[in-house]
Symmetry: D2
Subunit: 337 residues, 4 copies
Amino acid sequence: MQFFSDNATPVCPEVMAAIAAADQADFGYDGDAWSGRLDQAFSALFDAPVKALWVTTGTAANSIALACLCPPYGGVICHEEAHIVVDECGAPGFYTHGAALMTLPGSGAKLSPDMVKDRLGATRPDVHQVPARAISITQASEYGLAYTPDEVAALGAVARDHGLGLHMDGARFANAVAFLGCHPADLTWRAGVDIVSFGCVKNGGMIGEAIVFFGAQAKDRAAQAERWRKRGGHLLSKGRYLAAQLLAMVEGDLWLSNARAANAAARSLADAASGRLLHPVETNELFIRLTHDEAARLRAAGFDFYDWGEGAARLVTNWSQDKDSVQPMADALKALG
Amino acid sequence: MQFFSDNATPVCPEVMAAIAAADQADFGYDGDAWSGRLDQAFSALFDAPVKALWVTTGTAANSIALACLCPPYGGVICHEEAHIVVDECGAPGFYTHGAALMTLPGSGAKLSPDMVKDRLGATRPDVHQVPARAISITQASEYGLAYTPDEVAALGAVARDHGLGLHMDGARFANAVAFLGCHPADLTWRAGVDIVSFGCVKNGGMIGEAIVFFGAQAKDRAAQAERWRKRGGHLLSKGRYLAAQLLAMVEGDLWLSNARAANAAARSLADAASGRLLHPVETNELFIRLTHDEAARLRAAGFDFYDWGEGAARLVTNWSQDKDSVQPMADALKALG
Amino acid sequence: MQFFSDNATPVCPEVMAAIAAADQADFGYDGDAWSGRLDQAFSALFDAPVKALWVTTGTAANSIALACLCPPYGGVICHEEAHIVVDECGAPGFYTHGAALMTLPGSGAKLSPDMVKDRLGATRPDVHQVPARAISITQASEYGLAYTPDEVAALGAVARDHGLGLHMDGARFANAVAFLGCHPADLTWRAGVDIVSFGCVKNGGMIGEAIVFFGAQAKDRAAQAERWRKRGGHLLSKGRYLAAQLLAMVEGDLWLSNARAANAAARSLADAASGRLLHPVETNELFIRLTHDEAARLRAAGFDFYDWGEGAARLVTNWSQDKDSVQPMADALKALG
Amino acid sequence: MQFFSDNATPVCPEVMAAIAAADQADFGYDGDAWSGRLDQAFSALFDAPVKALWVTTGTAANSIALACLCPPYGGVICHEEAHIVVDECGAPGFYTHGAALMTLPGSGAKLSPDMVKDRLGATRPDVHQVPARAISITQASEYGLAYTPDEVAALGAVARDHGLGLHMDGARFANAVAFLGCHPADLTWRAGVDIVSFGCVKNGGMIGEAIVFFGAQAKDRAAQAERWRKRGGHLLSKGRYLAAQLLAMVEGDLWLSNARAANAAARSLADAASGRLLHPVETNELFIRLTHDEAARLRAAGFDFYDWGEGAARLVTNWSQDKDSVQPMADALKALG
């Protein structure tokens, strides 16, 4: 049983079926019928008129989104452990043509409005200093913690007050919504978010994520993003196979039910390992204290996962699991004492 | 019956089967078993030790290849109608950080060694002028014409003499090999080619192409390309679904049999429209004279294709067709007189 | 007597005096009194409210101007022999982050409105093709020819009709004005020009040129240009020594009298070599037929200049010359027969 | 009496004389006699064969140096208060095409080898993370502190052990040498430094700094830097006026005597304000505690300087001052109690 990553998981059957159903002739690039339904599908999901573009990866989604919000001479305020900082080999710097990532610390890889305000206050408004032009947050965070609607709104207010764009890396957006039980709109445009990278692959997809644009500038930004998408080499010539996956996710509630399953599995493990948790478990990731010996015993019993530095481990659950299916791991964790 | 583009075609069954077979848990990114077999599979195909990387599109393959050959202050000599010039929204300029495309005219969208030499001779070697650092050719060309092994070798010699890299955009490499009947090695490393963008999607794949690196610098360039791939957002988190497609193509001869089918279909149409051809038909594209009325009659009869400027049309055949299946179109063309 | 280039010439005494006068303590960068007078001085010169920034070179001026008019995925229509194409090592591609130079042929290195319109008409408006976003012309052209106010206005109309910016590389703007005898406004904002790179060094300055912004977007573009200037490393820490040079040029009519002197010298040589001219002589450059032997005889007599390909030479006159001072060269040319 | 900045100071007479002496015809760009002497002059100064290029500003020098050491996907380890981080509007990101600045804290704006090693140890060597490729230090630091030869050598050893380049921002290199009393070679190539940005303007120059390349790769890196210099718009067309300034500085000991004067002035003020110092005073900058009232009294007495946050001030001395000339300020500081 593997807890390496939600990437290591197969594609969910509904997505495979959607791909098979899209296997027919149609116009190339994003001229097909499936791509043509994206705006509508995401507008329904977010209960607002939005623009939605498919891209091939979350790194591309994040980078293109930031390029729409931040000029080359600007900066993006983000957490020092954000995926865009530590796991994308500088892709945001590539797509923005050199914008700076202005990193802040913060518990659970979450940004606090006060720290953002302090950072903004410490920048002189002259041409010598890089001006912040965007804030980027990860939902759920790199430690699996969800920003509540109020927390997002507080950052949205800072962004608005300082004329900054607000981007949300939603690789695990579905897991956050599943945990919070709120409407997706409450975590996004109602809270001041301009662009979301909407995750699909970690949640059961094969290839492809969406960039969703909100608000009055949605159309202009999406038009610009279409240029970056093409220029970045992300405009697939058979885009229908990607669009179909996203539609399979969001035209029904597959995105949410998959996330609920993964969260439930994580909840079960968290209850079993409650004395070991390094962070609260809100979505589908657990960070636990685990000695070298304990890790070895779990692995010997067939449970796979990554170490997380010395004396700790990361377990990621996924759409194909649930409370019941991970019971053996829960038992094994409990047995460690 | 559609002749819009080889993009408009469904995925071939063998590729779909390979995707289904890859639908299992494995390590993320390119850490999986399928990705791990690419070097070997392409080395066998090219009869030489090569490095092969998957990327999501031909635009990404071309751009990353050029970024491995040309510094930001350099130039790439190419045909003025090359795909990298007219159909990639400046992607090579993005990935190379601003290298210039040095365009030349030439019949059938093919470069001639003499024109390349003239262009090189016209550049002063001082810091004021952009120095050419690479040549890029398309095989088959944008008008469906194949460079013979000797023609490639002649350009390879120019490249070697001037210290330039030689890149081949092989979106339809398979069609060229199918037409020429030569060994893939004769069109590539034996002729001085450094990097090929090896096409898959136009030839029956769903998503993904390969970048193949030849020669003594293959390993270093591939290592650099891995950085551009990640940085460009092309390192899929479930790469096995892409790698499996490429393996399905090249571990057997599917890549060649698909191309032969498409070429045969084009040959059949070319014979039927021999008086209308704007270019010789060597692979799977036809450019024909066609009046507005004639085009309308064909379309009314259920044949779809793109106009190609005033009084002309482009027909592209694909892997799912062959001599027999396109007989109705051949008849219709013949019937136009 | 040298006719290599207007670069090879000393600084004119008025500029040296202005530098000496600026040699006192003041605020750094562009916070000094001299820099503060630039907008006013250029507004007076152009008879309109303009924004003016100093930069260190013409290459920087051109590149920053183009970066204000053209996004990374756009293109700049220009002559294939323009300085920005052949003499700046790709600097426009650097500052624009990869925009394409869309080159056109044309007699005397001048663009014709019809050719520009044809080029615009040949671009599809989809995301696959690089959209033109600016036109750049050189005044006087690389062959010393001036665009008349009507010629500029015709290009300005094309730019306006297609939503393009219009940039003028005015390294020898003063020489063009001196030749045409028109008001500077007639060659710029009245004719639809958005930004001029205003030359100083070739016309007697030491270090530094100006970027002048016209029209309703002047302020926004200048603010953006200030960022590129700093980011490109052009914000001198003792900017007063540069600003003082520009003021010396344009607060009086030094810019024009220097150019008139250079033009008069060229006129004199042109009259002497009227049978050899490859281009009409309008400003301070002559391109003449000259055999190897003839060139050798002139050089033996102490006249220095550059060859211009086989059987031709380029002579450039400068501010320190005039009709009388170049009489020996005029006589020598006449003596060649 | 002003202590705003060494930028606010006039040009020293020897430099002005050198400019006047260079005011004659010569070849353009860096083809002149003065530019041709730079390698030799700096080789003599550093007692080793070096390559030296002039550029217009320190920002350009730093950025071009870093572009020679770090690829777009790499990172530069530096202090979080380094000039390249906080005062260059992202210029290093521009010239490196997006490399990351990996910032570290540290007392007095100096990097410690241990912190650098820790940072290097925290990076995984996979393609997901930005690999450090260079270290950049400021000599003297942003708080006026000098790295000793041993301290530089310790960082040089870390760089060598990890295959990183080592860059020194030497805007105030002369002041550091003047303080340490060591040979310039001990602070540079003998300690593992690859490239120095050698300051001139803050030390009495008008416009221009040097980039000095050491070691086996000096020639290759300088050749690359010449491309960046041109491409960045820094290749002045009358380069002799800049080269002459650098030669005036380093062909004799003007660079050192100017720095000694500035340091002596600072020493005198430091002694007078010894109870107020926020950092030790080693070169020509003082950071002192100063209340709002005290600052007002000094200003009323004719002493100008910048506040440095709340309750503090920065005083910078310069080449035109010395122990005696700043005595009034020393007295005024002492009088504050």
